[in-house]
């Protein structure tokens, strides 16, 4: 079992999913470095706000290894006033017993763009799991695009995340996640050979009013992932949550085409979140490139509606 005495010596918030029923089979202490040991318990706190001149800046930064936040840059040619920040990990992939927490706040009328420097790899795990808690808070009029690179779950990985999103009714959040089926071209191919992915995102207003709760648990050993209706023949899945005022959501919904292209093996759909919280956009594909492009195009539609600018073309090396 987990040596909680060691775990609790950490100075950063505890990340513990041991009460999650789907993780019960994966609570053994790793033979290597213990759960949440220094270097295995990443923490990141980012706070964006407008400075005295009205410029959106990264005001707060707190981090613990292995998470790294790069210097914010202003490289977005369509919104050069927007801070753009990459989150990196000095530890390489998430390994057995890793814990992470990311707290991101965008204060009143500030705006920001966040991504990761490269894909997130979830390594093979034998004893425990890798867990991540995220708290994303957007104050009045705030705007955040959170568009990380895809997540690659390797054979026998176990990953769980809980993302709490608290968004003022005047703010807009674009939050995307792309999940690969695995290392498709590794050796003979490695698709849906992980042990479990458990992903929960839940939205609320600042007064605590719950808005939606989406949870998916993918356990390829139990559920028929390839069954029609689940992944079918597709290998890549993207999930995008857009929390935005209803008038924006309605126009974005109308402007977004949905399709299922059996030749290109690419599909996307959109619907409204409960309680007029915004939109949910989903993409299925075979390779990360076309899926990322659809997610980015959708982000451009959101930005055009909310900020009046499109998202510039992706850098050719990304």
């Amino acid at each position: 079992m987990i040596k909680t005495d060691k775990f609790k010596t950490s100075s950063v918030p505890e990340v513990d999913f041991s009460t999650a029923r789907e993780m019960r089979p994966y609570l053994r202490e790793p033979e290597q470095m213990y759960v949440g040991a220094p270097g295995k318990h990443g923490y990141l706190r980012l706070g964006f706000e407008l400075d005295a001149e009205g410029k959106s800046i990264l005001r707060d930064l707190d981090r613990r290894v292995p998470l790294i936040a790069q210097q914010e840059l202003y490289f977005d040619e369509e919104m050069p006033q927007m801070p753009c920040l990459y989150i990196l990990s000095s530890g390489g992939p998430n390994v057995d017993g890793d814990r992470y927490q990311q707290d991101i706040t965008v204060r009143k009328n500030a705006f920001a763009w966040i991504s990761t420097g490269a894909a997130t790899k979830l390594a093979e795990m034998r004893y425990n799991y890798s867990g991540m808690i995220q708290n994303i808070v957007l104050e009045e009029g705030a705007y955040l695009e959170f568009m990380p690179e895809p997540i690659y779950p390797c054979r026998h990985t176990r990953f769980i995340s809980d993302t709490r999103i608290c968004v003022d009714k005047t703010a807009t959040l674009f939050y995307s996640e792309i999940y690969m089926g695995g290392r498709k071209y590794y050796k003979d191919g490695e698709l849906f050979e992980y042990d479990i992915l458990s992903v929960c995102s839940h939205g609320e207003r600042p007064d605590g009013e719950p808005l939606f709760r989406e949870k998916f648990v993918i356990d390829p050993n139990v559920i028929p992932v390839r069954q029609l209706g689940i992944m079918g023949d597709f290998d890549v899945f993207a999930n995008v949550i857009v929390m935005t005022p209803k008038e924006h959501a309605d126009r974005i919904y109308e402007a977004t085409g949905v399709f299922m292209d059996s030749e290109k093996k690419l599909a996307c759909g959109i619907t409204h979140l409960p309680n007029d919280a915004g939109l949910l956009f989903k993409v299925l594909g075979m390779e990360p490139g076309p899926v990322k492009k659809l997610v980015r195009d959708f982000c451009s539609r959101v930005r055009l509606e909310v900020k009046g600018h499109p998202v510039p073309p992706e850098f050719p090396w990304r």
Partner: protein
């Protein structure tokens, strides 16, 4: 000769009544996205229909089924707030607009019918709270209340819930997929064998454990939601 080992005969009759296709809650109006799946040629024969229906049943088991079980248990405890919690949580969890509409329309119809069938304070309060939008009034929660009030246990409830989902899809299939009655009955017969496994899992879940990973179904539902074709509501 033992004629009533598990249910009394009145309760069994209630089960037949609540699951009958003529029970007026409007199940005939919905296809759960099958119409689009058929148009897109994703569901085109008995084999693909069976897979599609199995996914629908599994998706419902770990969301609607869980909420129904919790409502059933709460009714037996006389815990109205827990019924309301199950109701609200299910709507928070339902990501598809048309699915939310379906659950609320059928739930309200069931609640109105229950108010005629049962003289029960919880039923009366729930219907009143639906009317003033204090609770969403979802169909699985209505099932949980009705089955508990009707003297049926939660296994019967779960079977009825699964039967309802499967039968809704298969009934729609007869109108938009090239399959026969023989084939749909065979699918229903076979998928019934999975109900016990799904119940074992769903019956241990808390409301916060509800989960669904059916992106292909979600996209098909979205295509229907934004499309112009309308034989069914979804």
């Amino acid at each position: 000769m033992n004629t009533h080992t598990e249910y009394d005969m009145t309760a069994l009759s209630r089960l037949l009544q609540f699951t009958d296709s003529t029970f007026p809650v409007g199940t005939f109006s919905f296809s759960n996205g099958l119409e689009t799946a058929s148009f897109e040629r994703i569901v085109h024969d008995a084999k693909t229909l069976r897979a599609f229906t199995a996914s629908q049943a599994r998706q419902a088991a770990f969301s609607d089924g869980v909420a129904a079980i919790h409502a059933h248990r709460a009714f037996l405890r006389g815990d109205y707030e827990a019924i309301a919690d199950a109701d609200r949580m299910l709507i928070l969890f339902k990501m598809n607009d048309e699915a939310r509409m379906m659950l609320r329309r059928m739930g309200k119809k069931f609640a109105e019918l229950m108010a005629k069938l049962f003289d029960n304070a919880i039923v009366t309060r729930w219907l009143a709270d639906i009317a003033c939008e204090k609770v969403p009034g979802t169909f699985p929660v209505a099932q949980g209340i009705a089955y508990a009030a009707g003297g049926l246990d939660e296994k019967a409830l779960f079977c009825a819930h699964q039967y309802g989902v499967i039968n809704m899809v298969l009934s729609a299939a007869l109108r938009c997929v090239r399959v026969s009655h023989y084939e749909t009955q065979k699918i229903l017969f076979d998928l019934s064998e999975d109900v016990g496994v799904l119940y074992d899992e769903a019956s241990q879940m808390e409301l916060k454990d509800m989960n669904a990973f059916f992106p292909e179904l979600d996209i098909l539902a979205s295509l229907h939601e934004k499309g112009n074709m309308r034989m069914f509501m979804n």
